[in-house]
């Protein structure tokens, strides 16, 4: 029972981590709290739903397509909403208000267009078989979640830490003005970061939609709360912090739901956040700078 709960928690946490990775990357590099981020998660879920139910596309194609679509939406929204603010060096409050207004409009618009109902992916979108390892049972959906999360997280770490573009991303994160003096086109880096972040959120939307078999316009909003818990706990802008904090939150939620009461799991997540910040104000790993991408 406990072993199964831990496995379920880690797998749920892997999606939280994936979602939070994009959020923390966006914050770490572009230094804005972009509240439209949750919408990319919703968008990813809906694109996958549309492709699988309406066009009969398989998940192997629907998942990357949903990620790319969500990334593209992120680039468009960042360009429309935030590029001007960055250029004018408007404060954080301005970007917070602009993206809050935009995301509420987007959720409401989507609900008006598509209705508030919960949509389901076709039952045959993924096999129902499971891997049984002693007392632990891992479904195919869970395996996909695990595989996709690991691959995407590893790709992100490689991109940011080890690639030439990643060096440019870290330079822009530290000082966009000086990055410009190196010949780096900060606007292009911003677009790249938006795309990657949006794609991670979109992939997260598909995976969570699959895990709970539920896709609806406001799914991104519930996820954003978790995104905040994870990136604050992990340290703003800290990729490894987000990975670990995401896993931790998943495990804590599942254990709370399993042993206490499923209605309590969100409360416990926030209690955990308060506890972490109370003891370690700079997040779990405590490096006090918000500039680590």
């Amino acid at each position: 029972m406990l072993a199964q709960q831990l496995v379920n928690g880690i797998l749920l946490g892997a999606t939280y981590a994936l979602f939070a990775l994009g959020f923390t990357l966006m914050f770490g590099v572009l230094r804005v709290i972009n509240l439209t981020y949750g919408f990319y998660f919703t968008a990813g879920g809906f694109v996958a739903w549309y492709l699988t139910t309406r066009l009969g596309v398989g998940l192997a194609l629907a998942l990357p397509a949903a990620a790319v679509a969500a990334g593209a939406i992120a680039v468009v929204l960042d360009t429309l909403l935030l590029r001007r603010l960055r250029r004018a060096r408007a404060g954080e409050l301005a970007s917070l208000m602009v993206t809050l207004g935009a995301v509420l409009a987007l959720y409401a618009g989507m609900t008006a267009l598509l209705g508030p109902d919960i949509r389901r992916l076709p039952p045959d979108v993924i096999g129902t078989g499971a891997l049984v390892l002693g007392p632990v049972r891992v479904t195919q959906a869970q395996l996909l979640i695990l595989g996709a999360s690991v691959v995407l997280a590893a790709a992100l770490v490689w991109l940011v830490r080890f690639s030439r573009l990643g060096l440019g991303i870290r330079a822009v994160a530290e000082n966009p003005d000086v990055a410009g003096l190196m010949g780096i086109d900060a606007a292009r880096i911003a677009a790249l970061v938006s795309f990657v972040s949006g794609a991670l959120a979109g992939a997260g939307g598909v995976l969570i939609g699959l895990a709970f078999n539920a896709i609806h316009p406001y799914m991104g909003e519930a996820m954003m709360l978790r995104g905040f818990v994870v990136i604050i706990m992990g340290g703003l802008g800290d990729i490894f912090g987000a990975l670990l904090a995401g896993l931790l939150l998943g495990v804590v939620e599942v254990l709370t739901a399993g042993y206490l009461d499923s209605g309590l799991k969100e409360a416990v997540g926030f209690a955990l956040l308060v506890l972490v910040l109370w003891t370690r104000p700079a997040g779990l790993f405590g490096r006090p700078v918000a500039r680590r991408a």
Partner: protein, 236 residues
């Protein structure tokens, strides 16, 4: 052949005009210094040249081509490279990464490696600290890194904004020795300095900037003899 030609450059921050129509030129291979008190507009001049602030009026030509409206990263690609005021190395990145970023516009890894070798030969201390974060370097070492990083771009015109600012006297002497070396190598230099004596000693020509206007210009030796300059900048 003129490397840089500035005509009627006017820059304002909101309602305050920081530059009020300055003219300035730097010839190929020349070392020119720009003197001025705090707030005179020296940094603003360099920021305008690098495309970091949009001029309200005027023209900037680099090697004859108009670069007035270009974005900073495009100006760097044309060979105008700035070492900004206060060094501004990427403190969280290693010395090696800072140098790599300096050669961002260069698509040829072999040439980047050659340039890095030359920079490390010029600044041996950077070689010892190659894998340390730039933020861990002393002020003087950071200035060497900032200059080395700019040289990685292979500048056809190098702008230096107060490279000796805040450094200990020995380090100031070292930085000016580097500037003299660059000059001997015929790197085209535009040097902003508050250390007027050292700057006038190394420069071919000088401009004096006062509250956004050029009030004096000419050969460095002649500017150094101007009574106003002696009184204001040379501690006469």
């Amino acid at each position: 052949m003129t490397a840089l030609e500035v005509a009627g450059l006017t820059v304002a921050y909101g309602a305050t005009e920081a530059l009020r129509g300055i003219d300035l030129a730097v010839a190929e291979g020349e070392t020119v210094c720009l003197l001025g008190a705090n707030g005179a507009g020296k940094t603003t001049t360099l920021r305008a040249l690098s495309g970091q602030v949009r001029p309200r009026a005027g023209h900037i030509r680099l090697g004859g081509a108009d670069i007035t409206a270009l974005a900073p990263h495009r100006i760097v690609r044309r060979g105008l490279v700035q070492v900004p005021e206060g060094r501004q190395v990427f403190a969280g990145l290693t010395v090696a990464e800072n140098l790599t970023l300096g050669a961002w516009t260069l698509r040829d890894p072999a040439e980047a490696a050659r340039r890095r070798e030359r920079v490390l030969a010029r600044f041996p201390r950077l070689r010892e600290r190659l894998h340390q974060p730039a933020g861990a370097l002393s002020g003087g070492e950071q200035q060497m890194l900032a200059i080395g990083r700019a040289l990685m771009a292979g500048p056809r015109l190098l702008l230096l904004d107060e490279p000796s600012m805040g450094l200990a006297p020995l380090m100031v002497a070292e930085i000016f020795a580097v500037i003299a070396e660059l000059k001997a190598e015929r790197v085209t230099l535009l040097l902003v300095e508050q250390n007027a004596a050292a700057a006038l000693a190394v420069a071919d020509r000088a401009y004096v900037l006062e509250t956004g206007r050029i009030t004096l210009s000419g050969p460095a030796w002649r500017v150094a003899k101007d009574p106003g300059v002696i009184a204001a900048y040379l501690g006469g």
